[in-house]
Point group: C2
């Protein structure tokens, strides 16, 4: 969900009409949202088409693939920026399919650690090259300098954002 | 929902482990996602806190505020990138509160045009300055040159994305 897409003249009209036309940050934000949403939509469609998997499931497997020691429900929920309830349901279904497993946390018996099973790891590894190729293609008309510049500008933006992890 | 957040060393580990470490586009994409999600989360919280409104409702009012002649359900659904069903439910509730109105489309009696009412327009106008101020603050450590550079780089990215409107 997003404030509104950045669709050229309409967007400019909106901004001129409602903000006096001098708020570049709003235009920038709408453009960022549009790019992110278009890329996400494309990735979602490709995942469904080629692997019959939802983006939510892929994201969850990706998070677990990054954390070989496993993650608690709370960590997963925070990293995926979705509610605990949503994560719990998703995990239950993936567990039923043998893609993830839950274990009692070693240092806190009330907490559960979620991990990829070997089968889950394999399933994710099978999808990863395709996912990487889609991303490469979607960013394909940026040359290496553009990519670096964008990385740096977004790092600068991110360092000012509330709620980020300690990675600025 | 997103592939995974861009959280520094973990991210680097993930990318190195899974892609050979040379895929800058993937790192860029994760960073873009993180920035977008952090900004969206902040805007969502502020809307709820200061105006008691969901982001979905605000987005819908924003789209209608940009289209004084109104929009069909299909156009709204496309611009908000959500399903028709979701938009229909949202519109019904906003209509019940007198913020939007539905009319038969002048050139197609089977289609309905949705428009802001005067009250809806007023409600949106009341929220807009605060929204603009949040965005300005979130982007506050980018100087005007940074903003322009980001605008241009994202325009270049966007011109290569499938599914964009004819605004590249």
């Amino acid at each position: 969900m997003q404030v509104s897409s950045d669709d050229g003249t309409n967007g400019a009209d909106f901004e001129t009409a409602t903000t006096g036309g001098d708020q570049m940050e709003l235009r920038l934000w709408l453009r960022m949202l549009t790019c992110t949403n278009l890329i996400e939509t494309e990735v979602r469609q490709q995942l469904r088409r080629q692997f019959g998997i939802t983006l939510a499931r892929f994201d969850l497997l990706a998070q677990l693939a990054r954390a070989p020691k496993g993650l608690t429900m709370g960590q997963l929920s925070k990293r995926l920026m979705v509610s605990n309830g949503n994560v719990t349901g998703l995990i239950s279904r993936l567990e039923g399919e043998g893609l993830v497993e839950r274990q009692v946390a070693p240092h806190d018996k009330r907490a559960q650690i979620v991990r990829l099973t070997e089968r889950g790891d394999q399933a994710f590894s099978n999808m990863l090259p395709a996912h990487s190729a889609w991303i490469r293609q979607l960013f394909g008309n940026l040359d290496p300098d553009d990519v670096l510049r964008l990385m740096n500008l977004l790092a600068k933006l991110k360092s000012n954002l509330p709620g980020r992890e300690s990675d600025a």
